[in-house]
């Protein structure tokens, strides 16, 4: 019998224009919209993912990076399981803001153990010309190492590079740091498809155990 679907709330943070919405849309519906508009406050989508033989439902919360939306996005940090810090490889400022984003998150998220919260860092827009790149791979790695050994993935939402990998490594990070399945009550949800699969697996297991 398979285990229960684990529901994880994933929050995408980062400066405006780093491609958070694109990352989410690429991951959830494998689409890329060149004319995407800025996010208002927050948006969210569900996506099922299997990592190391286990099923997860990711509730992905895409936030608005602009400062004026700060008070509109921070209320949604509560109850987050994984936080993905995003910057754009061609935007040094967005890289330099990573720490602010982490701090903002920790301030509002009301997480029990701040030091071991699963963050991962995504450097988006790896599709750019090498000469427009403003943050070197090593710089990013160093930063991640210095700030709690955070996993680091470079992606391109545009060319669908490393998207699946990024989210997988996010889940792996969570498994590593926060592997308890029974979570304190934060209104977490198990969606219907998970239920159906549960029911199906139950059926299977009962029907074929005649001996």
């Amino acid at each position: 019998m398979q285990g229960k679907h684990v529901l994880l709330k994933v929050v995408l943070l980062g400066n405006g224009g780093t491609g958070k919405s694109c990352l989410m849309n690429r991951f959830v519906s494998n689409r890329f919209d060149t004319h995407s508009f800025h996010t208002i406050g927050v948006e969210f989508l569900n996506k099922d993912i299997e990592v190391n033989g286990r099923s997860y439902t990711l509730q992905i919360w895409d936030t608005a990076g602009q400062e004026r939306f700060k008070s509109l996005r921070t209320p949604f940090y509560r109850g987050t399981d994984i936080c993905i810090l995003t910057y754009a490889l061609d935007d040094k400022a967005s890289f330099q803001s990573l720490l602010n984003w982490r701090d903002e998150f920790l301030y509002y998220a009301d997480v029990p153990n701040k030091s071991s919260f699963p963050f991962i860092v995504i450097g988006n827009k790896v599709d750019i010309e090498p000469e427009s790149r403003e943050v070197a791979y090593e710089t990013a790695l160093d930063w991640c190492a210095a700030n709690g050994n955070l996993p680091y993935v470079e992606t391109s939402a545009k060319e669908a590079t490393n998207i699946q990998e990024a989210f997988t490594s996010a889940v792996e990070r969570w498994v590593k740091l926060d592997a308890k399945i029974e979570k304190p009550y934060t209104g977490q949800t198990v969606n219907l498809s998970a239920r159906q699969q549960m029911a199906e697996s139950e059926h299977r297991s009962c029907c074929f155990e005649l001996s």
């Binding site: 208002i40 969210f44 569900n46 509560r78 029990p112 934060t186 949800t189 005649l210």
Partner: protein
Amino acid sequence: MSDTETTENLPTASENSPEDDFSKTSDLSGSQEQESNTCEITETSMGNVPAKEVTGNEEDEEGEVKMEEVRADGAEPGNLSSDCLSVNPDGEDFFETFSSIKIKYEDRSTKTIREFKYSADVPDGPIADQLWPTLGGWNVDDLYGEVLYALVHALKTKDQLESDSMVAYLQQAFHIDNDKHKKLLDLAREKQAPPLVLNLEVIEAKGLKGKDVNGLSDPFCTLYVSPKQKHNTSMKPATLNPTWREYFSFPVTSHQDEVLSIEVWDYDPEESLSDKMKRFNEVKSTRGLRILMKEIALTASTGKQTHEFLGCLKIPIKNIPADGFDKWFNLESKNGNGNKKKGEIHLRMVMGAEKDKKVAAQEYRHVLHLLLVHELDEENIQTHAWDGQFSKHSEYILNQLRWQGGLLPHDIDMAKWLVYTRVQCEHPLNAKLFPPIFSAVLEHHRKEAISDDEMRKFWFASEKLLDNFSSFVRNIHQCFLSNSTATTQAYHMLKTLGLLKDHISKAPKIKKDLESKITAELITEKTENAISRGAEDLFNSIVKSDPDANETEVETMIKIGQLLIADLRKGLEMLDNVFKELLGIDYFETTYRVYDEKYGELVKPLVMKICQNLKPLEIRHDDGLFYDTDLSIGTSLFELYLAVKQFADLSVNLKSKTDLSIEGCFHTWFHSSVAHWLDIAWCKAMQRIKKAVQLDKLRPVSDIGDDSQITSSAVDTTLIFHQIQIFWNQLSWPEVEGSYAFIFKILDDLCKCVIYYADIMSHRVEEIENKQGEMYQISDELCYAINNIEHVARGMVPISERLEMEKILNQLAEMNGKESASHCRKTLAVVMDNANENVMNKTYEILSKVGLHMEPVIYRMLLEGVEVENEDEGVSKLCKYLDKNLIKLRDKLTQDGFDKVFIIIWENASRALRNLIRTNVEKRRPPSFFQRIHNMLQILFNFFYPDGISEVDSVHNADVREVQDLIRLHGASTADLILKYTQERLRLQGKIKMRNADNGQLTLRATYCEDQKSLRVEILNCRGLKPHDSNGMCDPFVKLQIVPQELYPIVAKKTKVKKKTLFPLFDEIFPIPLSPEQMAMGGILHFSVKDHDLFGRNDFLGEVFLSLESIPFTTSYAKLQDLPQINLPLTMPTEEVSSMLQTLESRQWDQEAAKFAKKERNKQAGTTGNTSS
């Protein structure tokens, strides 16, 4: 509501009032008199604040009250049991919803306004001390003597007053001591009585005769007492209704015999005959012509001027009362017989003493002033109360002065204006006095009855009045905070100013001639200035007023806001229109802008500071839900938001909203606190849901209707949702993007609440369920719990509609484009869908538990029943059990809930059956046993689905089909099973495509010769066999049989063995005698291909099945060669048929079954063995 506190407290000490804000206003008004307060409208009562009638409970009891209130106006229907209030039985830790904050806010607003005292001061000292007029060179004693003299020689009036009391009154008013009084009285008595005059005003006449050729007259009056002294009025040409308004004065010697005569004449100038002839041309009528001819004749005959008599009137002087006449008199003919109507004349006459007019007028003014002051003092008349009505005594004295001084109306009006305006500055009078006097004076002025000198005084007084009125306007805010008649006062003041302004703008000359400072602009400027200053005064006074010791900064700010709003509303309601109408001044806008700037300056930094320091709620999870943060800041901040928002909303009354410091941007100050509030709301909601469930007795809240199947916590929880929604509506966030994000959060929070409720409700009911014994019965509580959860989930839908999501999305579409809006719409939909799915899951979970609880009971009953020979009897107990519980479920649950649980129970029943079969398979029961189970299944099935299964979603009956299959399997005989097995193999073989025939294939021909009753089978060859021997080849042969062997007891046929080949050519024909009946009995040809082994057992290479029914019927003449070759794939027994083999294997009592199964297993084993080698 007492207004007795106003100016009761007139202390005896006659000090000047202390210098303060309001005495400075008299500086502003430029008063020359003693410094004193002009405004003391300090009524502390606050009667008319339009606040909600709150039950007046003090803070401590508010909790309970609010609960009820919210409930009462909530969306929930009224039939709630007392259970519902049980959430908060002891009032402790009440759920302080945001809607109750609103009530609290309004409550506080009422209280604040009631308690606020405008720090205006009451003037000190008796009124008289402040108002005592300066007599401008006059000696009080002299004046007193003059008045005494007038009284002693009083003219008679209709209501003659007792002279002594009058004198006493006068003495009091003048504050004259007795000795002086006696001396002056004696002096007055000694003086001769004053000479009298009759003052007459000829006002107008009407209905006169037309005496001239044009049908009109040119009337004038001749007046005399003695014919020696005649006066004439001016002639008014060509009219029958002349207006004169001319004054005359006649010395009167004795009252006894003199008569006033008035004659009206048609003026006839001396003109020559030729002039008259010229006029001939003008004659219009024949009557006119006749008169003209007569006139011509008269003139011609006498050559002397002759006025024509129009009428006369005689009035004996003794008939004229001292206070005179003002009425219409009928004109009579000369000889006194009044047959003919001569028309009427309007006369006004008064008796008076002959005196210097100016002196008399001045004297009159002083006495008027003194008496007024005396009266105000004596009668203790409130400010703004005196309406021009003197006491009888004063009236008498004034009349005597007026008559004896021969004062005319304009003198009186002017005196009133000068005196009243002056007194007004010290002790405000009822302002309604002013407009009529003002109009009257101007009217006199128009008639040039007033000297320039007088007019100068008039304008000077008016300037004072303007200052006084502006200072009233400046202090007008007190009037709203107190409940006085001030608005009426203001109205009259503004009306006066309006008249003034109007007059000046129409006749700007006046100003120039008289060097008056007053201009229309000055009036506007002073008034506007007064409005802004007044607004500033009020604001400062509010800010300065002592805060409560426990009051926080935010609370102070709320209080200020509430007072400003109350003031603005009153101003709007009572004054704005008046100002606009009478002076064209925008009172509200001026005031609003002052408050806007000042309040904004105060609130903005405070709110920003607080918001910046707001910590997110820390929720501890160990004990359910818990928060650490002090919520009071958040909640009082919300009150402040409401106050500021209310203030901003008032800006709709402005002409333009430009340059406002609050409206349009205040929400940005509060931005981050909204999230905080929402968090608080969510936290409290969760807490309260928890408590609601704990306290829920799980008894229906009502006996009838929808509520009869839900219990208190469901009602409470929907109520909580409602409160959150009310909060949102109250917030009415003015900005679209924020609204969207907040609605998103609210929905998300509501979803969490619903799920949380479902969670703890199911937990609660589970505890109850688990206490049940072996014989599980569905409990009422369980049904209520399910209904509760559904109710709560349903309750979310209308709330989400009332959040006005659609409106916000439409606004978003306008602002950010449709694409963005539809994006947001989708996101919100995902949130809602998630919640609904979760709730469905929850109910499903609970219902599944019902199934799980029932399953062992069902199983037990099935087990008992199956041992009984008669199935009907065996199942009846189970059916009764199911029936009872299902009926209960149907009665208690909603249709939807019942449908769900029904399917679940059916699934569990069928699962119980399956388990029964499983255990009994292990026990290796005979097929007859399974046959009984099969019958029970049928009965059960008919019990659940009397109309057949088609009506139900077949997904839920996958179980049933399997159970049926199992029963069919285990209920069948061994021969049947073997046939079924073979048939299944044949079916599976048909699914294999030739190119996928991994085990090789067999080619054959077959036909049935009907006439010879013989089946002819030709085995041609095999292809693609798998190598089996060590040389990479095999030695294949084919064995042919027909199954089932009971029906076809023939000897097995075998081909020759072909050596070392994977492509053996057999080409052997086997005739098998069979009857046509046998051909139709469903037999199957079974070809098994084996590898010949000289020493051991022959190895199995694969097998082929061919149904007898598929073989064509021919005659003996037909040649096999003409028939088509049949290519069939070789197959092995696979997993797909293993359940059948298992069944056969389980029949250990049956040798045949065991043997068959073993053989088949060997085939499988052989296969695996070979492929692995």
